[in-house]
């Protein structure tokens, strides 16, 4: 029996646990790390079951190549040669920008770094992106503009000392359970809690105020709160004067957002807005916590700006127990962004358009690099439909289930001349691939992951990968080598040395420094202790910028033909496209198949009963799933988690994109429901 300390593969909280393995190399269980600052001897249900999918018999164990429509087993050399030859061929014929690379928030920092190197240096395109496009691209865009850094400003330990937590658009106890539990504990010790969420989530039961605003009306709510704070004189004038700019423009922009006007847009009572503003404004130390409810809108960046404005207005920044705290959803989505698996930046958010930066990377990698920013993943799907993207390499992502408007994604992927997928299971996306390369999962390789609080931590190998599967970094290295680039890294630690040398915020990150619970970036030098709280003396950009925003409604609201609002997201027991959790016995048993949450009043209106299979249709598609009658959703809204291939919520969702961040409007579209 062995016990290997590692980082949880699920959400971005960054819990650590020991993976137990037996003599035969099978992982047999999980034990939370008792003294780790995040897990503290505790885990959520997914963490406690994180071993369960590792040895599932459906793991991919050998490379496969599609021949006459069939996927057949092949050798590594043949498969890798083919991937390189096909991608190279497309780049030569149609130009490097006819290729798209999708990296993964599930693989390590080192692996993300190598894939972005492969796209940029190996194939000469900045067309690289990953699923942060679908979750926090609005945050990265919005907070970089207002504060200079797109990450969670504070640390999880701040929950232990804050006086108020304002949770807007985050179902924290289900999606970041060990953060949600800290919020519940804060409430137990007397901290105030405001929850703004149309759904009656678990946190709402403990909240001092629960605001059930209409999905997509967050800008109006936040502007209304800020206007009221100014009316009552509860703003932090000293902070505004010394630490911010653009205040007068903000002040003017808030004028129209009277409680009555906001009430009309949000569906809240005017006094609820006033109460929330006063409770928040009178508190000295308040944390704003948000997630997909803020970001996944066609005005996601505006939502983020409004959140940032509220924090700046009340001086809730740069101190313990305060901050703008976007919760990152995957265990390495922060790291994938940090490593430059994004179309416009190298690692550490260094812009590809900056000639000095480009020169630095060009010199380090020994090749010329493309100048113009690449395509966002959501735009790449559109481009593939149009035939402008012809070849794609997807590392550990499953856009067939995770992206909005499934019909369009399918059309895009089928339209490609060549698709290669690196994954651990035969996902819905892998089924469409020309070549599948089998990867090691988190339990089978070393690497680092960066949690939502910017904590860079070890992931450690506990057991060998199944069959011929290889670590992603080894697979990407072999492609780098075929592109004639340096690829003889001995191990992930050596890759991190290269990352540190090129990435100021990771300059002091080295494997031998991470053993004691990791380091929080920015960590620029080898003697720097890391940075638990950002923007302490000044913001990363200098002054905090007020960025006024106006309310824009969602792109598609209920109407006569499609009278209900569809909200989508995750459930507690499953993870994203279900490839891991649906293969984990206890989690699968808890929620076996697709379901839709519907308010009992609506169910009565339509004559539906509990567990009845019902059809849900939008302008883009139609699915069926079992009705779950619950007051958790308000009247007029239904909620479907996107985990289930057989009732894919994203067959319905609207791929209307935020003009700046390219994020789809997962949280609002119009649907109709009928009996099956």
């Amino acid at each position: 029996m062995t016990a290997t300390l590692t980082t949880c593969p699920y959400c971005g909280t960054g819990c650590n646990f020991y993976l137990k393995a037996d003599k035969t190399g099978r992982v047999t269980g999980v034990e939370p790390a008792g003294k780790h600052p995040t897990s503290r001897g505790q885990l959520c249900i997914k963490g406690w079951n994180a071993h369960a999918f590792v040895d599932h018999p459906e793991r991919l164990t050998t490379p496969q190549i599609r021949q006459r429509g069939q996927l057949n087993a092949a050798g590594w050399e043949t498969a890798l040669d083919l991937v390189h030859e096909k991608l190279q061929g497309i780049a030569e014929k149609y130009g490097p920008d006819s290729l798209m690379f999708l990296s993964s928030a599930k693989v390590s920092n080192e692996e993300n770094y190598l894939l972005m190197k492969l796209a940029r240096a190996g194939f000469g395109t900045n067309n690289i992106d990953h699923c942060a496009r679908l979750c926090h691209s609005s945050t990265v865009t919005g907070l970089v503009e207002t504060l200079g850094s797109g990450a969670m400003t504070n640390s999880l330990s701040c929950f232990d000392e804050t006086e108020l937590i304002f949770v807007i658009g985050s179902n924290t106890t289900e999606q970041h359970p060990l953060i949600g539990s800290r919020i519940l504990q804060a409430v137990q010790r007397g901290a105030k809690l405001i929850v703004a969420d149309s759904r009656r989530i678990r946190l709402a039961k403990q909240a001092d105020l629960h605001l059930r605003q209409q999905n997509g009306s967050d800008v109006a709510l936040l502007n209304g709160m800020m206007r009221q704070i100014l009316q009552d004189g509860l703003e932090d004038r000293e902070f505004i004067a010394s630490r911010t700019e653009g205040f007068s423009a903000l002040e003017q922009s808030l004028d129209p957002f009277t409680p009555e006007h906001v009430s009309k847009i949000t569906g809240l009572m005017p006094n609820q807005i006033v109460d929330a503003a006063r409770l928040f404004g009178k508190t000295d130390k308040a944390m704003i916590v948000y997630a997909m409810g803020i970001t996944q809108h066609s005005h996601g960046v505006d939502n983020v700006r409004a959140v940032s404005n509220l924090a700046l207005l009340t001086g809730n920044l740069g101190r313990p127990g305060t901050g703008v705290n976007p919760l990152r959803g995957q265990n390495n989505v922060q790291g994938a962004c940090d490593m430059g698996a994004l179309p416009d930046v190298y690692s550490g958010y260094q812009k590809v358009a900056d000639p000095v930066v480009r020169e630095k990377f060009s010199k380090a990698w020994g090749c010329n690099l493309p100048e113009s920013p690449g395509l966002m993943s959501t735009h790449a799907i559109e481009a593939a439909v149009e035939g402008k993207i012809r070849g794609m390499l997807i590392l550990g992502e499953n856009p067939m289930l995770s992206d909005a408007n499934q019909a369009q994604v399918k059309q895009a992927l089928e339209n490609l001349d060549f698709l290669a997928v690196i994954d651990i299971f035969p996902t819905e996306t892998a089924q469409l691939a020309d070549v599948i390369l089998p990867a090691a999962c988190y339990a089978e390789r070393d690497g680092t992951f960066t949690s939502t609080e910017r904590r860079v931590q070890h992931g450690r190998k506990a057991v060998d990968p199944p069959g011929e599967a290889q670590a992603d970094w080894q697979i990407v290295c072999q492609l780098l080598q075929r592109c004639g680039l340096q690829s003889d890294y001995a191990d992930p630690a050596e890759i991190m040395t290269e990352i540190a040398s090129l990435t100021p915020s990771y300059g002091g990150i080295a494997y031998d420094r991470l053993s004691d619970n990791g380091l929080q970036w920015p960590c620029p030098t080898s003697d720097h202790p890391g940075t638990p709280i950002l923007h302490q003396d000044q913001c990363t950009r200098g002054k905090g910028l007020f960025s006024p925003v106006d309310y824009r409604p969602p792109k598609e609201l209920p109407d006569a033909d499609y009278p209900l609002l569809l909200n989508t997201g995750r459930s507690y027991f499953h993870w994203h496209t279900g490839s891991m959790t649906r293969r984990s016995h206890l989690l699968d048993r808890e929620e076996r198949s697709a379901f839709v949450e519907i308010n009992p009043e609506d169910a009565k209106k339509y004559g539906f009963v509990e567990r009845q299979q019902i059809r849900i249709s939008s302008r883009r598609g139609s699915i069926s799933c079992a009705a779950q009658l619950t007051g958790k959703v308000p009247v007029g809204q239904i909620f479907i988690p996107f985990h289930f291939a057989e009732g894919a919520a994203n067959a319905l969702t609207n791929n209307a994109l935020d003009p700046e961040s390219g994020i789809p409007e997962f949280k609002v579209c119009a649907v109709r429901i009928e009996p099956c």
Partner: protein, 327 residues
């Protein structure tokens, strides 16, 4: 039989045990916790926090392959372990938990997989000055083959079973008077909180609204069950592999909806409040009725594993505080 062991005697004893057993010893892990691990690569951690992973997991692991069924219908069971297990470092609560678990798994009809692991296993308890900062842990006085009682950098060794006595035979005799004093010190029970809570539940003095309140604070992590050394519930997992169907058992949790959900979808424990009540009621009332003792050995693991502070002690405390005066 009472012996006294020096550090080198202790090492000799462990060396002798390791010859015939797969010996697991307490170790300090990288995150600062103590757990049992293989003897061969370990530096002993002879005092400190309670063992993080419940030692009962050696006999009833989180996932355990039971059998493989091939296409022809042949059933194959995993080969038995080469050597029986020996666990060193269990404190009084760990040993009490294993005794409790033994009742469940070995009551007729005995669970043969558990039985095979358990029957020839050797248990070496560790009590006395073996707590955090060498604080005193009460004596177990039973439930193991050998009990090592740490005192002044030495260990009094009590042989409880024949196997234990024979392993200790060659060492020097210990001082019985010391043992008497230590036994006296062990008699001071910490509190009767759990007994009081048990009585309240037994007398039905805790209203349903209380369980709703506690359940609202539960995030369904299942950690209370998985960390509990007396929880014995498991479910079956069948997987199709190239070799046939693999049937395993997996730790289950009564806090999950599907734990008792029927195929129709109906669930006799259909609310979180009912399931939360069951968790506490089972240990404090149902187990007392079935086994004549509390199902909680007061090890504190569920309280430490609970992210929202509603483990056994926390709930019992709240219950007694709020409803105790009425009884």
């Amino acid at each position: 039989m009472l012996k006294q062991l020096s550090r080198s005697d202790l090492e000799q004893l462990l060396e002798a045990v390791a010859k015939n057993y797969a010996l697991q010893v307490p170790q300090l892990l990288a995150d600062g916790t103590r757990q049992l691990g293989p003897y061969d690569n370990a530096e002993l951690s002879l005092s400190g926090q309670p063992l993080q992973r419940k030692p009962t997991s050696y006999f009833f692991p989180q996932t355990e392959l039971l059998l493989t069924l091939d296409a022809a219908g042949n059933v194959q069971q995993p080969p038995p372990a080469e050597k029986p297990l020996a666990l060193f470092g269990m404190d009084r609560t760990d040993l009490a938990a294993l005794t409790f678990l033994d009742q469940f798994f070995m009551a007729p009809p005995a669970d043969d997989i558990y039985l095979h692991r358990r029957l020839n296993a050797l248990l070496i308890g560790l009590t006395g000055d073996a707590g955090p900062d060498s604080s005193f842990l009460p004596l177990a006085d039973d439930g193991c083959d050998i009990e090592l009682i740490a005192i002044n950098q030495k260990w009094l060794a009590l042989g409880h079973s024949e196997a234990g006595k024979s392993l200790l035979r060659k060492f020097n005799d210990g001082d019985d008077k010391q043992l008497v004093t230590l036994r006296k010190a062990s008699r001071d029970q910490p509190s009767d909180l759990l007994q009081q809570a048990s009585q309240l539940l037994h007398d039905d003095l805790v209203p349903d609204a209380f369980w709703e309140e506690i359940a609202d604070r539960c995030i369904l992590c299942s950690g209370c069950n998985l960390a509990c050394p007396t929880c014995s519930c498991f479910c079956l997992q069948d997987r199709q592999t190239p070799n046939g169907t693999e049937r395993s058992r997996v730790w289950d949790s009564c806090q999950l909806d599907a734990f008792m959900r029927e195929a129709s979808g109906h669930n006799p424990l259909g609310t979180e409040a009912l399931r939360t009540r069951r968790r506490i009621h089972h240990k404090l009332v149902a187990d007392v009725e079935r086994w004549g003792e509390l199902g909680c050995v007061a090890c504190g693991r569920c309280d430490r594993a609970c992210p929202t502070g509603i483990g056994m002690f926390a709930v019992a405390e709240e219950m007694v505080e709020r409803f105790g005066l009425r009884s």
